[in-house]
């Protein structure tokens, strides 16, 4: 999947027709929507009805039965981190030109997904998904302390800056902002005012607002159907 392929298109991503409230605005197709909006690449969205993601058609392109996928021309990729990087490589809006700065963005992409999102998800598992709420509550403090350790390092690395790399918005800021949004929504960024400001600044970008509205629209349209079934 080369930069030229993105110029030729067509570009299609997959997304859900609806998700429960807590996930709305946080589903991972939003990462690709945001990157595509920043890059001004026109794209289509194939909307999957809940339940069909684990059917054979989607499993053939997404081995874990999830969304999103990214199809450009005749090639399809899965994993939002991999797809987001290919979009970034195709656009000057998301990556600087210099090799060292591109490498730094690449490192931060993994930093977002592996060093930051993982402890954020552990806390979210304990708060939202654990069936034994009482047991989960007993572990939350420890998981939160681990998360705060990571956030503290990130705050030190960012310092007073608004951007992680090259003094401009890049795919690094896009992905770090995205994963931090969950922590911000749970008030876990309150001890880190610079990170809170960083998330607020970047999630106010017009491209993000368009991407978010794109994800939310089908959720509104299909709410009645799913809420009636619940």
């Amino acid at each position: 999947m080369t930069p030229d392929d993105f110029q030729n298109g067509p570009i299609t991503i997959t997304a859900y027709d609806w998700v429960p409230d807590f996930a709305q605005g946080f589903v991972r197709d939003l990462r690709l929507r945001w990157a595509l909006e920043e890059a001004s690449f026109p794209y289509q969205v194939e909307i999957l009805a809940q339940g069909t993601q684990t059917g054979p058609a989607n499993l053939a392109r997404q081995p874990f039965g999830q969304i999103p996928t990214l199809t450009v021309g005749r090639q399809t990729m899965f994993e939002s981190g991999a797809c987001a990087w290919r979009i970034a490589e195709a656009s000057d809006e998301l990556l600087p030109r210099g090799s060292a700065e591109r490498d730094a963005c690449f490192c931060w992409l993994f930093g977002a997904l592996d060093s930051l999102e993982e402890p954020i998800n552990t806390v979210a598992f304990l708060r939202l998904f654990a069936e034994d709420k009482e047991a989960a509550q007993k572990l939350e403090g420890q998981a939160l302390a681990m998360l705060r350790g990571r956030l503290s390092r990130l705050a030190d690395a960012l310092g007073e800056r608004s951007f992680l790399v090259a003094d401009r918005f890049t795919i690094a800021d896009l992905m770090v902002t995205f994963v931090l949004r969950s922590a911000a929504a749970a008030d876990d960024l309150d001890p880190f005012p610079s990170l809170k400001a960083y998330v607020e600044q970047h999630s106010a970008r017009p491209a993000f607002r368009r991407a978010l509205e794109g994800q939310m629209k089908p959720f509104r349209e299909n709410a009645t159907k799913y809420e009636a079934a619940a």
Copy 2:
């Protein structure tokens, strides 16, 4: 960091002088050692004494105060996923030539780190790191069921094959094998004989055995010092 840079060298990674028993053979510098051994790139290892990883010298190159980093010539990268990919790009031993196959390897790299390692680490947190063992035990079944869901999809995607992409060993197999090793060591692959065989096959590769010995050697040499202090 280009393929040419790897030819010119020098290549240096960082690793620890010692870690506790449960982590020995699983620290992430092993990912880079393995990739470098497969690629036959000569490399040096800068060994960090425990405790110095969060000092200013290491924080300047690794914002989360961890290992490994990868330095090639004058450029340094962090995050083992990012570093492993750059090594792979520089060697025909780890990536096929075709663009679609390289993209598939890239997707699986993220699949390993984000779709597989995360649930493996959640189970490991509950079993090994949670301070409230009783509470952790109550959540283990649920976390294990989530992990088994992912492993089941992986087993379906792999089928009877030995390799994920292009019918040959690639960075995709290296990283998926690496993250599955923790699950195998905890007997969590027992319900998935094809995955167990996959891990056994790839971790028997001579390059992996050399890499593992490279990680373990300083642990043996420094054991007395740290165990006396414990």
